[in-house]
């Protein structure tokens, strides 16, 4: 097992495109770290540099105690699971899993033992002598994972391994990979564009955007304390609501006033003390859909009520999702099941915002204003 440490690792592709701008962080021994971000943000590039499939333009990469910048993939003791599985189509499942061990000249008996062990863990014992084309998507996925675990590498790398599976299978494989991680206790780095996968699987999450690391933190801390508006909007589904406006008032009686509407949210004492310096500035308020309530007795204490137009109602059974608007602003609310009026252009609804759950972002830098970004990035 090993740590993986990146020091200002950059990637500039031959065409001059800078896909990763100086990433620095450390993956602990035995940790499950997820790289998440929208398509094209450089997740695969970063992972492939760790694997040794892309050259590192500058910076240093440690695996264990070694600098591995100039080592070939095979000498880094990593195993990778590819998005399209990359199974050898002409080899049986058994031979696919045994491939890496045969190349490394393991004794036949040990190869056999490891392959059968992996097949047992992954539940593909029945198909060991089949070719990949006769397998279902889920089975191929397992074989691809099996090919990695027979090697018993220091570090496992996964590049969007579940994105070709249907939704149900994806959820199932998600838990299987998590279980595998706790069984093997190995260091795992997992790339995905799906924030649900990131939240459910990662010990820690590295959020990337345009080749830049946005924030590195545990899933829950990331959710509650996003470092900037991008992270706030990317993590969580439905996404956080954003309202642009400004801070108004004086002394302790500050409130957030949304642009072009009567929408006004009085600030609590702690928010007020942090935001006093920004009074009069253009600011974005963020609030998660579950922190909006239908005004009334069920709304939490200290919430601010405002009036919205009810556009769409989606009853989900366990909750109701409301799509509302007010002037130029739109918002989504997830509320408990209750009688809701028919939506329409002249249907108004009063929503309560939980003022203890507000997020504020600088409109220019998009950085979070109330949060102190977590310090322990290394």
């Amino acid at each position: 097992m090993a740590r993986v440490r990146l020091d200002t690792v950059r990637k500039v592709y031959p065409n001059g495109f800078e896909a990763v701008h100086g990433a620095s962080f450390e993956v602990q021994d035995g940790e499950f770290v997820v790289f998440v971000g929208p398509s094209g943000c450089g997740k695969s590039t970063l992972l492939r540099m760790i694997a040794g499939l892309e050259e590192i333009t500058s910076g240093t990469l440690h695996i264990g105690d070694r600098v591995v910048n100039d080592l070939a993939p095979k000498d880094r003791d990593v195993a990778m699971v590819f998005q399209n599985y990359a199974l050898y189509p002409h080899l049986t499942v058994y031979d696919n899993m045994a491939f890496g061990l045969k190349i490394r000249k393991f004794p036949k008996a040990e190869i056999d033992e490891r392959v059968r062990e992996a097949a047992r863990i992954l539940g593909v014992e029945q198909v060991l002598d089949r070719k990949p084309k006769l397998l279902s998507g889920g089975q191929r996925q397992r074989v691809a994972v099996g090919r990695a675990i027979v090697r018993k590498p220091e570090v496992f790398l996964f590049d969007e391994p579940l994105s070709n599976l249907d939704a149900k299978l994806r959820v199932q494989m998600r838990t299987e990979i998590s279980r595998l991680h706790s069984q093997l206790g190995a260091t795992m780095i997992y790339v995905t564009h799906d924030q649900v996968e990131a939240m459910t699987m990662g010990d820690r999450i590295v959020v990337l955007k345009d080749g830049e690391v946005q924030q590195i933190d545990t899933p829950l801390h990331l959710y509650d304390h996003p470092a900037n508006q991008f992270v706030a909007g990317f993590i969580g589904s439905p996404a956080m609501n954003f309202l642009s406006g400004r801070i108004d008032g004086s002394g302790d009686a500050l409130s957030f006033v949304a642009d072009e509407t009567a929408l006004s949210v009085p600030l609590g004492a702690s928010d007020a003390s942090l935001l006093r310096a920004h009074a009069g500035q253009a600011i974005t308020l963020g609030i998660r859909p579950e922190d909006l309530y239908v005004a009334g007795p069920t709304a939490p204490n200290g919430s601010a009520t405002s009036r919205w137009t009810l556009d769409v109602v989606e009853p989900m059974g366990n909750e109701i999702v409301l799509y509302v608007s007010s002037g130029p602003h739109t918002a989504v609310a997830r509320v408990a099941p209750q009688p809701i009026p028919e939506p329409g252009t002249d249907t108004d609804i009063d929503l309560a915002l939980d003022t203890s759950k507000l997020h504020f972002f600088d409109q220019e830098t998009e950085a979070a204003l109330t949060e102190t970004p977590t310090a322990d990035l290394a």
Binding site: P73, A79, N84, I103, K133
Partner: protein, 317 residues
């Protein structure tokens, strides 16, 4: 539908015309399809089926220079004569050697060049590709005659260039072994581009991720070639090799033109050039036709067995 007794008279009439127009439509469609197929069928009958049947008949006849007009079917005598002729067996052996050596070099050179051309570090790929396809794109007889010129003892480029490096001149076209080598060299030159083009196509369809997976698994270039490239090229190469073997086995042009009709002393022959010589230099039409049928039989059997044994039609992915 038509015998529905309960329907009103008017409805019946309507149904009848609908059914009639349907059958007319179907007939027109059949006619149209035959119209499309017709020309092809005629041409195939004229240039393949008729000559083949005619050849079968000839092979059973005594047609030769003494019986040009009054030939008659005499049974299997010509086949017996062909199979008991020692020279035929010698030529058959040479044909097998010719075919095998050519195919080994065609495939070896072709795949090797394709793999190199497919590497990322090669610059000017399109130009290289065009250059390497040229030997195949030029008319065969021009290339064959050019090579014949190059093999000339006194003035040929090969001996002249060899001389520069202090090598003795070789009597390429006047000694049996050297002449055989010369025709093979020429045909290797002519044949590798086809295999290269096929292999290039095959390489395009191998996903790059497989090589990356192999890199992570620790495979060397050599292992990657033999464990990934070679087996995955197989499905495209086997049909190409089958074609290549049939073409090479029957490639009279190169042998005939470079050796100038089997020189020296009819030592440079393969079966088809031997057939040609028998038919058009010695006018042993019946005998030549029988030998042709033997060649056909050999190639037919070979392709059936080869394609079956290699599972050529099984898809890889």
């Amino acid at each position: 539908m038509l015998e529905g007794k309960t329907t009103t008279a008017g409805l019946k009439v309507q149904q009848r015309t609908a059914a009639q127009s349907k059958t007319r439509e179907a007939r027109q469609r059949t006619l149209f399809l035959w119209g499309l197929l017709g020309p092809t069928v005629l041409i195939v009958l004229a240039v393949v089926a008729y000559p083949f049947v005619y050849n079968v008949v000839l092979s059973l006849s005594n047609m030769n220079i003494y019986h040009i007009r009054d030939w008659e079917v005499i049974g299997l005598q010509q086949y017996a004569s062909v199979l008991t002729e020692p020279a035929v067996w010698v030529v058959f052996f040479k044909t097998v050697v010719w075919t095998l050596v050519n195919i080994v070099f065609h495939v070896g050179l072709g795949v090797w060049l394709a793999v190199i051309l497919n590497k990322a570090f090669i610059v000017g790929k399109p130009a290289w590709r065009v250059l390497l396809i040229l030997p195949w794109a030029l008319p065969q007889y021009i290339t064959a005659l050019t090579w014949r010129g190059m093999f000339n003892y006194e003035y040929g480029a090969i001996n002249l260039i060899g001389g520069v490096f202090g090598m003795d001149s070789i009597a390429w076209l006047t000694s049996p072994f050297e002449a055989f080598v010369a025709v093979i060299l020429t045909n290797i030159w002519l044949g590798f581009p086809f295999m290269m083009v096929v292999a290039l196509g095959g390489l395009q369809s191998i996903p790059g991720e497989l090589y990356e997976a192999a890199d992570v698994d620790g495979a060397s270039e050599w292992t990657k070639f033999w464990k990934i490239t070679a087996p995955l090229l197989r499905p495209v190469m086997i049909p190409a090799i089958t074609l290549g073997i049939v073409w090479t086995f029957n490639n009279i042009n190169v042998v005939w033109l470079v050796s100038n009709g089997g020189e020296p002393n009819d030592q440079t022959h393969i079966l088809v050039s031997y057939v040609y010589e028998a038919a058009f230099s010695m006018y042993r039409f019946g005998w030549a036709a029988a030998l042709s049928m033997v060649i056909f039989g050999i190639l037919f059997l070979f392709t059936q067995v080869f394609l079956k044994k290699t599972n050529a039609t099984e898809a890889a992915y």
